[in-house]
């Protein structure tokens, strides 16, 4: 039994498809250079639920729901749905929290970093360099025996909880439930949160990405990690395909604009763009997956990845409530402090979580 998606050709097609779908989602209404951004979209979900009250970034993003449910359905179908957990869930939760704080200082997850570059935003090259730096730090820890410990098989039904949570979010979105006068669910009237492709297109795209990413094991963090750690260029060829496809589509759709200044939902503070993504990259590497990959893993029954994803939503709320999330005007008052705290947390985790000493 072959798994076509996991071949070299397969991963290139998957990466290219994600690039094409993301840029089309932008064309159809998603925010600029944000066709798909796992960090931004989880942040929007946190806002829609009222966990933070930044009025311009509140929407239940169907793409996120689709990622989890797509991976859930296909993993059941191919017999890869395997509930497992118990590998340092609380640490993973906080890795997710700090990863989000870092990503929101830069304004994007690794996917959006690529989409921003593909749209001509040169600030994102600085972010990408920071991401690579952070992942490199994670690789050094891995080489020295870093491990969050083994997971254990869990009861079958525990694997349905996270997908059920996503289904619940989808129902809230579908019926736009209002729980009180002027209360949740919140939907942005202006700003990035108000910009979205039609619901059914978004959920369909999310489901397709969930399916092909589960099959191909697409992971942006893993791509850089594998090159640095074992000189394996498999995943990075998918990442390159995403970048090239998105770039070509942006040219075609007139969405390309080269430069540092005036880029959509971005700022030009190079130091904190770099360090924010360094923190994110390090946290992803320590947790074993980029934000997208954590969602696909959650769908196929990885409860620890579910903790990471919940940690990201929690971190998004923290970022906005405590003035750590950047805006196009620049870095927020407490963003740098959040990044420094996160780096300290990750470095302590990297040094202290070891399976064995290096021989």
């Amino acid at each position: 039994m072959g798994n076509f998606c996991a071949t070299r050709t397969g991963i290139i097609i998957v990466g290219g498809s994600i690039g094409i779908m993301a840029t089309l989602l932008q064309y159809l209404g998603n925010p600029p250079n944000m066709g798909i951004c796992v960090a931004c979209f989880e942040r929007d979900i946190a806002g829609a639920l009222g966990l933070h009250r930044a009025a311009i970034v509140q929407y239940i993003r169907p793409e996120i729901i689709g990622f989890v449910l797509g991976a859930f359905i296909i993993s059941l179908f191919v017999g890869e749905h395997r509930p497992r957990g118990g590998s340092s869930p609380l640490i993973r939760f906080f890795l997710g929290t700090f990863a989000m704080i870092g990503a929101l200082v830069f304004l994007g997850c690794p996917w959006r970093t690529l989409l921003r570059i593909a749209g001509g935003d040169l600030n994102a090259i600085v972010g990408l360099a920071g991401l690579a730096m952070g992942i490199f730090g994670g690789v050094l820890f891995l080489k020295n025996g870093y491990s969050l410990g083994r997971s254990q098989p869990q009861k079958p039904w525990s694997g349905y909880v996270f997908p059920a949570f996503m289904l619940g979010l989808f129902l809230l979105l579908l019926f736009s439930v209002s729980f009180s006068e002027g209360g949740p669910i919140f939907f942005s009237a202006s700003g990035p949160g108000s910009m979205h492709a039609p619901l059914w297109i978004s959920i369909a795209a999310g489901l397709i990405v969930g399916v092909i990413a589960q099959r191909s094991r697409f992971c942006t963090m893993g791509a850089f990690r594998d090159v640095m750690l074992i000189r394996d260029f498999h995943l990075i060829s998918g990442v390159a395909a995403l970048l090239i496809a998105a770039f070509a589509m942006n040219l075609l759709l007139g969405q390309f604009k080269l430069g540092f200044e005036g880029q959509p939902i971005a700022h030009t503070d190079h130091v904190w763009n770099f360090l924010g993504m360094s923190l994110a990259g390090l946290a992803f590497a320590l947790a074993g997956g980029c934000p997208g990959r954590q969602l696909f893993l959650s769908g196929e029954g990885d409860l620890d990845a579910g903790f990471f994803a919940l940690g990201m939503i929690f971190g998004a709320a923290f970022s906005h409530n405590f003035a750590m999330a950047s805006s196009p005007k620049g870095v927020a008052a407490f963003g740098p402090a959040g990044v420094v705290a996160g780096l300290i947390f990750c470095i302590v985790i990297g040094f202290t979580m070891r399976e064995r000493a290096k021989s």
């Binding site: 890869e80 083994r150 750690l229």
Partner: protein
């Protein structure tokens, strides 16, 4: 020659690959790696190919045993 055994069950990506490649670099020519998921299996098969080693896969209950040899 007895194979060096690596139990990588429950370990998440990339640790099974890290343990295996470390063992190969330390000179183990004959390895038996036990994993419990398809992703680790695919990664180990790719690793074996990179080192030009043979790899045989055997499924035992929930476990996947991969035998890697020169």
């Amino acid at each position: 020659m007895t194979a060096k055994k690596i139990d990588a069950r429950g370990l998440s990506c990339p640790q099974p690959v890290v343990l295996t490649s470390q063992a190969i670099r330390e000179g183990a020519g004959d390895l038996e790696v036990i994993v419990d998921n398809e992703v680790s299996k695919e990664n180990l098969l790719r690793l074996a190919k990179k080192y030009n080693m043979r790899a045989d896969v055997k499924e035992e209950n929930q476990d996947i045993v991969i035998r890697i040899a020169k």
